[in-house]
């Protein structure tokens, strides 16, 4: 059990960050990370010994998150950044930084789940393209095209070219 502690414990802050950026709700995100850790523990013996633990655990978290978002979509509109307020995401040092971060995260929320997850995994979690492809279970070519579209769309949202309220409906993931 020492190997799981050494491999997984340092990942927990990053798992919380990814979950919170996807779900935009502190409690729901931490619940998700909790379920992810439970599943990581119960399936630890099933992972490939030569595989990267970070990619494997992020894949578990991502799949749980997509399931949760699909459930939420079925139940009706979920809490958006605007409703949740700044406490749901983060608390930056200054008021200016706060406004800028709110704006950015509101725009991020306007991306599709597919675009948002690829952008977060590559830009924030700094996974390689190959690792992001493994987490999302898609070809690298698809990672690249989604990343490119996500960055362009977020750029245009931030520039005010696109209204942030123009939400793309949730797409179901197989």
């Amino acid at each position: 059990m020492h190997d799981i502690m050494a491999a997984v414990e340092p990942l927990i802050p990053a798992l919380r960050r990814y979950a919170r950026a996807l779900l935009r709700d502190r409690t729901a995100a931490d619940d998700l990370v909790h379920d992810c850790l439970e599943r990581t523990i119960s399936r630890w013996h099933q992972r490939r010994a030569d595989g990267d633990a970070r990619t494997w655990v992020f894949a578990i978290l991502h799949n749980l998150a997509m399931g949760r978002l699909r459930q939420a979509a079925r139940r009706g509109p979920h809490v958006t950044l605007d409703d949740a307020g700044e406490a749901a995401v983060a608390r930056p040092a200054s008021y200016d930084a706060q406004l800028q971060h709110d704006d950015l995260l509101r725009s991020l929320a306007a991306l599709s789940e597919d675009q948002r997850s690829v952008l977060l995994l590559v830009s924030v979690e700094q996974l390689s393209y190959a690792d992001a492809a493994r987490v999302l279970n898609i070809p690298i070519g698809t990672v690249m095209s989604r990343l490119s579209r996500a960055r362009e769309r977020l750029h245009r949202l931030m520039d005010g070219e696109l209204p942030a309220t123009q939400r793309i409906p949730l797409r179901s993931v197989k």
Binding site: I12, R17, R20, D35, S42, A90, H101, L104, L120, H155
Partner: protein, 259 residues
């Protein structure tokens, strides 16, 4: 200077992510120097990446809440056995308070008797042995379902189907043949997103070959058992009756359809 290969959109993304080798990076830099509009866009992407990291960094800086402590979660995993003993002790104390041995027998009388009782006991015993096993809970995994079905059907001399419980949130993990006082039985194991395991035990019945579903509980292990056309089924888990009863109904529905 002209570049050897055309610059692609992927090159621009990799430039933002600093994922290019030095030679290619120099080529992209050269291209960007000659195309200020593209350079502006790439610079905006890099800024966007830095802002995203900054906006989300405080989340990773927060102290990890106690319910996400990995050591505690691992500890809790090992705890069920002690919990079971504690619950048994508490239950025994309550039952003794209610009237000594009488209370215990009353409890037994509420559960199933005869052939179904034996099946329920065997399923509970199998659950206690295999469900907590982290290393090798099943002999054949879900990927080898066909082989498992043929093995179990062969030993039981009855065609066996594997109920699909995914709609109820339980994934099939795999199974094995287990020994009982009444010959070989097929054990199928499932788990949910929280790692809660559920066992379905199947074996031919010598007596009580068609019996209505009966509920039983032994410590924290709860179950539902019944028999249909000579085959006994028992669904057991450490779950509430509200969770387990619909799952048992679903197993019965699917096995009824299949036979």
């Amino acid at each position: 200077m002209t570049t050897s290969r055309p610059i692609t959109e992927d090159d621009l993304q990799a430039h933002v992510d600093q994922a290019l080798d030095p030679a290619r990076r120099a080529e992209v830099d050269d291209y960007l120097a000659r195309h200020p509009d593209v350079a502006l866009r790439v610079a905006a992407y890099a800024r966007q990446r830095d802002q995203l990291r900054a906006a989300l960094a405080p989340v990773a800086e927060e102290p990890v809440p106690p319910e996400l402590g990995l050591a505690q979660l691992l500890e809790a995993r090992r705890a069920p056995r002690r919990w079971g003993a504690w619950q048994l002790a508490a239950a025994a104390a309550v039952l003794l308070g209610l009237g000594g041995f009488g209370g215990w027998w009353l409890r037994g009388a509420q559960g199933p008797t005869g052939g179904i009782a034996a099946l329920a006991q065997e399923a509970t015993d199998s659950y206690r042995v295999y469900a907590p096993d982290r290393a090798r809970p099943v002999e054949l995994r879900a990927a080898d379902q066909r082989e498992l079905v043929s093995w179990v059907s062969d030993r039981l001399q009855q065609p066996v189907v594997v109920p699909d419980l995914t709609a109820s949130g339980y994934r099939f993990m795999g199974g094995r043949v287990v020994a009982t006082a009444h010959g070989p039985a097929g054990l199928l194991m499932y788990d949910d997103d929280r790692g809660t395991r559920l066992v379905v035990l199947i074996r031919p019945m010598a007596i009580e070959r068609d019996t209505a579903m009966a509920a039983h509980a032994n410590g924290a292990v709860r179950g539902y058992s019944w028999a249909q056309r000579g085959i006994g089924y028992s669904v057991v888990a450490t779950a509430s009756a509200e969770t387990l009863h619909p799952l048992a109904d679903e197993v019965r529905r699917q096995t009824t359809q299949a036979t």
